[in-house]
């Protein structure tokens, strides 16, 4: 099974930029609904697995492609934990380093993408915790209310002012109303060319068997929020 995946995924895929734009109706039944091994060799999770095998074989280019492709996802995972931009950069670089340092210990290549995003989340979470601690220690007067609030979002940041189109602002605002879990899932699905359910499950802690359904609910929820927003219809 793995051999077949490698062969089919080999050339063309690794150099493909993360473009998911094509949704061929012919492909939908087996496409987004599954990341079953062997079914969709074009999935980021599978490319990650290929990159790991290639890396262990001493080839560097597939890993380089993976770094190019998956870095934005890791970045957003780190940022979603509240890491500042600077810290998120360190987190992402640290995750890649941790990956090559531990590559030989990752027994299941198919789980690699999940490993990466979970590493990013934990690492970001740690750095955010450390920042809060530093902040707390540097505050001589514990003014509970404001302090806690101020440090709860060390770098809340996403700068919505850059969104000029009303439609974009509406979408962003509605997206922000979703639960953390929904936002994480949809971000992951959006960032990868195909959903990698194992990675999403690893990141969010929901069972892999529920990811598809949850993703569907989250999307439906978002679309409902947008449909109920007259600004969306107008835009």
């Amino acid at each position: 099974m793995d051999g077949a995946v490698v062969d089919r995924a080999g050339p063309g895929l690794v150099s493909t930029p993360p473009a998911r734009k094509v949704l061929d109706p012919m492909c939908t039944p087996s496409g987004p609904a599954t990341d079953a091994p062997g079914a969709t060799p074009t999935n980021l999770g599978e490319r990650a697995a290929l990159a790991l095998r290639a890396h262990l074989d001493g080839q560097s280019e597939p890993l380089a492609e993976l770094v190019r492709e998956a870095t934005p996802m890791l970045w957003h995972v780190a940022r979603s934990q509240g890491a500042s931009r600077e810290d998120a950069e360190d987190v992402v670089q640290g995750v890649w380093l941790a990956f090559v340092r531990n590559a030989e210990a990752i027994r299941d290549p198919a789980a690699l993408l999940g490993w990466l995003v979970v590493s990013a989340r934990r690492s970001a979470w740690q750095v955010v915790g450390r920042r809060r601690e530093e902040h707390r220690r540097s505050q001589p007067l514990p003014d509970e209310g404001t302090a806690a609030e101020a440090i709860g979002t060390p770098d809340p940041a996403p700068d919505v002012r850059v969104l000029e189109a009303e439609r974009d602002r509406v979408l962003w605002g509605r997206f922000a109303e979703l639960t953390d879990k929904c936002r994480q899932i949809l971000t992951m699905v959006a960032m990868a060319d195909r959903p990698d359910y194992r990675a999403i499950a690893a990141l969010t802690g929901i069972p892999v068997t529920s990811v598809g359904v949850t993703r569907g609910r989250c999307l439906a929820k978002l679309r409902r929020l947008l449909d109920d927003d007259e600004r969306w219809a107008d835009a």
Partner: protein, 171 residues
């Protein structure tokens, strides 16, 4: 592309994960989200290159030196605010190196000193490769003109021994 003969066992309709396939509106929405994420919280320029580059350095199996900043603050992360840098000191168990960065003919000039003063083979790694030089008996070395961007100095005693490298810094 369809591979019904072998894939049915894993992709069949009985899969409990089976859920509604995304329709074109879903896909359009997700594409919009990607675009918005990129707009409101863009991945920093060069993060990919710096990550790749960190992996290259990791592949050297060098011990990473610790960085001691000196004034003014040093732009290690490639954010657009590039600050002129004067000197930075890196230390490790076997060697300490101080570098002074200044403007070169087309890029950056690096003047460095190692302590203890010994002959070292020194390489500056950048995303595009590396250049080498050697320090003199006093531990002095110069790279007259290095391309700006992320870089790491890699040092090995000319007589042999462990390799040490600096964290990636922005020149």
């Amino acid at each position: 592309m369809t591979n019904d003969g072998t894939a049915d066992a894993t992709t069949g309709g009985a899969d409990p994960r089976a859920d509604e396939p995304m329709d074109s509106a879903d896909v359009a929405l997700l594409d919009d989200l990607v675009r918005l994420l990129a707009a409101v919280d863009p991945v920093p320029d060069g993060l990919v290159e710096r990550s790749l580059f960190a992996l290259t350095l990791e592949g050297l199996n060098a011990e990473i030196m610790s960085l001691h900043r000196e004034e003014p603050a040093f732009a290690v992360r490639g954010e657009p605010t590039r600050v002129e840098v004067r000197t930075i000191t890196f230390s490790s168990d076997p060697v300490t190196v101080m570098v002074s960065l200044s403007e070169g003919p087309t890029g950056v000039r690096i003047d460095g000193w190692t302590a203890p003063a010994e002959r070292y083979v020194i390489q500056v790694y950048g995303p595009d490769g590396f250049t080498s030089t050697e320090s003199d008996d006093d531990g002095c070395f110069v790279f007259p003109d290095v391309q700006p961007g992320p870089a790491s100095l890699v040092l090995r005693r000319a007589a042999g021994g462990p390799v040490v490298s600096t964290p990636v810094i922005g020149l």
